[in-house]
């Protein structure tokens, strides 16, 4: 089973995030980056499927030069090859733009399955996997908690709300968005890290992929939400105050 896994590099969880005044993105100098955590689960699932069914795992990442590190981590953990879509302006893309670039790169591969994480820890759109499936014209399922592959078909356990699960079946090839927690990702071994040095990473650009994108959405500004507290004292007798409170809960807080 040949599997493409999409991996994104995102700011490290403990990175102090500085937002320049009026900026549309955080200041990236002086912060560390890491593999998007949800993608780590997708990668682990890809490696396990490969170990069970044979084939190869190809890690695809889009971003500036530094994002090659996410691919290298995938190679260190056991992926065979990497594809880097080199793009310094990738953060300006909306999920549709990202999915278009990824789809164009993935179409060049011979694959049976494409895995993505459920969402990215930076933008958190949660759309890229779904759009990618549409652009590739393939069946798709989200929030996957278990994959059973046999005879060219997939039996999938999806997580629903409130502790409910759903089993669905799909034919291959397909695109899946993996839920975090589906497995326990392995650590890269020292040998794996050294072996990754010799593995191939192909580099492509948007121009080489022939993708032109016109953004359908634009980030105006990012900011840390301001906490506002408002205390109001309700006056009158206990009965009157209670009545006012009920009114407020109904019409202002809308919880009744």
């Amino acid at each position: 089973m040949n599997i493409v896994v999409c991996v994104k590099q995102v700011p490290a969880k403990d990175a102090p995030l500085a937002i320049p005044e009026g900026a549309a993105w955080i200041r990236e100098t002086d912060i560390g980056f890491e593999l998007n955590e949800p993608d780590g689960y997708a990668l682990e699932e890809a490696l396990r499927l490969k170990e069970k069914h044979g084939g190869e795992v190809v890690a695809v990442s889009m971003g500036p030069e530094r994002s090659k590190q996410a691919i290298k981590e995938a190679l260190a953990k056991g992926a065979e090859r990497g594809v880097h879509i080199s793009d310094d302006k990738f953060y300006e893309l909306d999920p549709l733009g990202s999915a278009r670039c990824l789809a164009a790169a993935i179409k060049r591969e011979k694959f049976d399955l494409v895995l993505t994480g459920l969402q990215s820890d930076d933008h958190g759109f949660g759309q890229t996997g779904v759009l990618l499936a549409e652009l590739l014209g393939l069946p798709h399922a989200t929030i996957i908690m278990q994959i059973d592959a046999a005879d060219g078909r997939l039996k999938l356990k999806r997580e629903l709300e409130a502790g409910w699960f759903q089993w669905v079946e799909l034919p291959l090839p397909a695109v899946l968005s993996i839920q975090s927690g589906i497995n326990k990702p392995r650590y890269a071994t020292l040998k794996g890290i050294m072996a990754a040095k010799k593995k191939e990473i192909a580099t492509l650009t948007r121009a080489e992929l022939g993708v032109t994108v016109s953004p359908t959405q634009r980030i105006e500004r990012i900011y840390v939400p301001k906490k506002t507290k408002k205390t109001e004292i309700l006056t009158g007798t206990a009965k009157e105050a209670a009545a006012k409170l009920v009114e407020k809960l109904k019409h202002e807080a809308r919880v009744l």
Binding site: Q69, T189, L190, K191, I193, M194
Partner: protein
């Protein structure tokens, strides 16, 4: 001059950090309180390659150098110094003595098991009456019927209870002084060999430190490690590398304490502000960070020298160990201070860094002994 780490070295750091966060961090206080050495970590660390960083792949190692080894110890120590200490004794003392001075047969017999974590290693030089003055070793080994018979006792051996093999120094020719001490390989389960009292310690509590006792312990002739009479001299060379690992241990502890203090200073509010807004705290953190960086730079330079392999690095290793050890104690003490009363309390991380740090000015040669070593190098005293 290039101070940057390679992509692979950065990846290694991330791997060890992830491993420590996932497998060690949740248990740190539990192991510390119970003085429990988590033997179950040994095969896991072996699988990752942390137990054979500096040995060639033909012995199951990773074929890397001291820079990578320092990265491993530093990152482990930032989370749990006890684990880092046990890994250091296993790697740069026991395994390295076998690698550097063992015969091919001895390397083949032990290194693959040590690097894979199937076996833990210990190294016994210190005795109750021979600490800083290790040349005063009393444990004896006598030749009898083509074998060696060991008698005596060692103290403060790291991994003394769990190790499958112990490299032990013993006197083979009394009147030859420091050229009359030899090294021996003694396997767990050998008749007449047992580990004695496990010490109850201030810090490094999850690392085993114990007595190792020999009474008419017979080992075959082939268990002599290195040339007869050269055990002590070889030990000094082993310590040149070992000290780099204790320096790394100090850097890791200091960094861990600094990170914890920095984070806390941003959260803790007094006088209507976070304490990080007080210049008194800012200057403290700035001093701590500067000391950590200086210790780190000395340590990586010693490691870099060790990797070049074209010169002895005795002086630089001793300097790194001396400085980083003292920095670990100072910085972790300041971290307790930043935490205020909570620094004194076991629910917060500062006090453990403080307790653990003190070993760094004692183990593998006290700070005073490092100064002796440095001065001898400076003055050309033999």
């Amino acid at each position: 001059m290039d101070f940057s780490f390679s992509d692979e070295q950065n990846q290694l750091r991330r791997t060890v950090r992830e491993f420590a966060a996932g497998e060690i961090a949740p248990h740190v206080m539990e192991w510390d309180e119970a003085a429990h050495f988590p033997a179950e970590l040994v095969p896991k660390m072996g699988e990752l390659g942390l137990l054979g960083v500096i040995f060639p792949e033909s012995y199951g190692g990773a074929g890397l150098g001291y820079v990578e080894y320092v990265i491993v110890i530093e990152e482990l120590a930032a989370v749990d110094a006890s684990i880092a200490l046990s890994v250091a004794a296993h790697n740069s003392l026991c395994s390295n003595h076998i690698y550097k001075f063992g015969t091919e047969a001895q390397r083949q017999k032990y290194l693959p098991r040590l690097t894979s974590g199937k076996m833990l290693g210990a190294w016994s030089l210190t005795e109750p009456g021979a600490g800083s003055d290790a040349g005063g070793t009393r444990t004896v080994a006598e030749r009898r019927n083509g074998a060696w018979v060991l008698n005596g006792s060692k103290t403060f051996t790291t991994n003394g209870h769990s190790a499958g093999v112990c490299v032990a120094m013993a006197v083979t020719e009394r009147d030859k002084g420091s050229h009359g001490i030899s090294a021996f390989l003694v396997e767990h389960g050998t008749k007449g060999f047992r580990s004695g009292k496990k010490e109850n310690k201030l810090g490094m509590r999850a690392s085993e430190t114990s007595e190792v006792l020999f009474s008419d312990c017979v080992v075959p002739a082939e268990n002599l490690l290195g040339k007869e009479g050269e055990g002590f001299v070889n030990s000094l060379q082993i310590l040149d590398g070992g000290r780099i690992s204790i320096a790394a241990l100090g850097v890791g502890i200091a960094q861990g304490a600094l990170s914890a203090a920095t984070k806390y200073s941003r959260e803790r509010r007094q006088f209507g502000k976070t304490i990080s807004e007080f210049q008194g705290i800012q200057f403290k953190l700035a001093d701590m960070a500067t000391q950590v960086e200086a210790a780190r730079t000395l340590t990586y330079r010693a490691a870099w020298l060790a990797d070049r392999g074209d010169a002895r690095h005795t002086k630089e290793s001793a300097m790194a160990k001396l400085f980083a050890g003292e920095v670990a104690v100072r910085v972790s003490s300041e971290a307790v201070q930043v935490f205020g009363g909570y620094g004194f309390i076991k629910d917060y991380p500062a006090e453990k860094y403080y307790r653990d740090s003190k070993l760094c000015t004692i183990g593998e040669g006290t700070s005073e002994i490092q100064k002796l070593v440095i001065a001898r190098q400076l003055l050309g005293i033999r």
